[in-house]
Symmetry: C2
Subunit: 200 residues, 2 copies
DNA sequence: CCTGAAAGCTCTACAGC
DNA sequence: GCTGTAGAGCTTTCAGG
């Protein structure tokens, strides 16, 4: 496992890649004042950490005849919302999921009205649903950008910045970062309890 | 201007790139049964057409300490919603905008509560706002994928599939496709009227 | 943690069909 | 519209600081 801390140079590299991932590492290296091999290695590290999820292509689906999407808005009792969002994330007609503090879950779904209704009939079964609405999407745009207040990984347990003493945990196919061993222990306990709660 | 029609092979290439844009053109060529130069040329064409908007990197911002985003939900009188969505698209703290048939506009905004309130105070000024709500985003995920019902460009005027007789228009920095010259003429008239309406 | 050089691949003309 | 080839340029490994 590579080093866990991130620095300003990593942030600059990410910004350049978000803007245009077809840039060469040499061009990026020139801009950030390094050489190509170093940039390559830093990107590789961020990929392993999961900060960089994937290299991809943004497609303007609005130009295609295919476009047939729905916006689904669900208001749940707050505790329930996290698991719904997790389940939606794995459905592949679901492009975008947003969950808010107040237990709202929004999903941008590429499917016709009946398919969407069927999907959500299953997903909402047994949940405490306060409201539920499906509407046709006319237009949607995506504008990727890096928002760098403090550019650092935060500890899932205490929220503090994770530095080189930090640890990276991989549990049930998801990665979590903690700043130290005591946070690791606390997090593992908390996680086990959450799991029991979800299953019980 | 290149040919306007798209075929199944273009769709396959796009799918492979969406999944992983760091693949080499040779690998893609092998999978779709072509050679690297042809794939390169097809991708270049789709870029020029605007189907491929950009090569980029998806970053898991939830791991970063930076995360501080709001979901803004606005319900407008239906006619008004398009122009609000257009204005939001150009604000760079706005990551995602979705507009529905019923005049709802949702925006995923990377900024604190006061900044968001200030931004929308300006944007909503003078509009017919039926409801307006701001909530803190806890989690958001993006899952790019190509939904290929009929994979073809559709005419902005008549909705029919655009083939090699089609035309590509660039008006006010946005690209539009029409299937034939009569649709072009009708669209230009309609566009001019819309512009007058918006300004008047 | 970085550089510099070197080997191996990848991209993209271009000529030919 | 596609292929094959060939040169330029890119990535990545590795020795060295």
């Amino acid at each position: 496992m590579p080093t866990v801390a991130l620095d300003e140079t990593d942030a600059e590299i990410l910004e350049l890649l978000i803007e245009d991932a077809s840039r060469s590492y040499r061009e990026i290296a020139d801009r950030v004042g390094l050489t190509a091999p170093t940039v390559s290695e830093r990107v590789e590290r961020m990929r392993e950490l999961g900060i960089v999820e994937r290299f991809t292509v943004a497609v303007d689906q609005s130009m295609l005849a295919t476009q047939d999407a729905r916006l689904v808005e669900v208001q749940l009792a707050p505790g329930d919302a996290g698991t719904l969002a997790d389940e939606l994330r794995d459905v592949d007609v679901v492009e975008h999921v947003i969950r808010t503090e107040s237990g709202r879950v929004l999903a941008h779904v590429h499917a016709g009205e009946p398919e969407v209704r069927r999907l959500f009939a299953d997903l909402l079964e047994g949940r405490d649903v306060l409201s539920y609405d499906v509407g046709g999407v006319v237009e949607s745009s995506w504008n990727p950008d890096l928002r760098r207040g403090e550019f650092a990984i935060s500890c899932v347990e205490c929220g503090k910045e994770v530095d080189d003493d930090g640890l990276s945990l991989e549990i049930d196919d998801r990665r979590y970062f903690v700043c130290c061993e005591s946070c690791e222990e606390l997090f593992r306990e908390r996680y086990a309890e959450l799991q029991e709660g979800a299953e019980g």
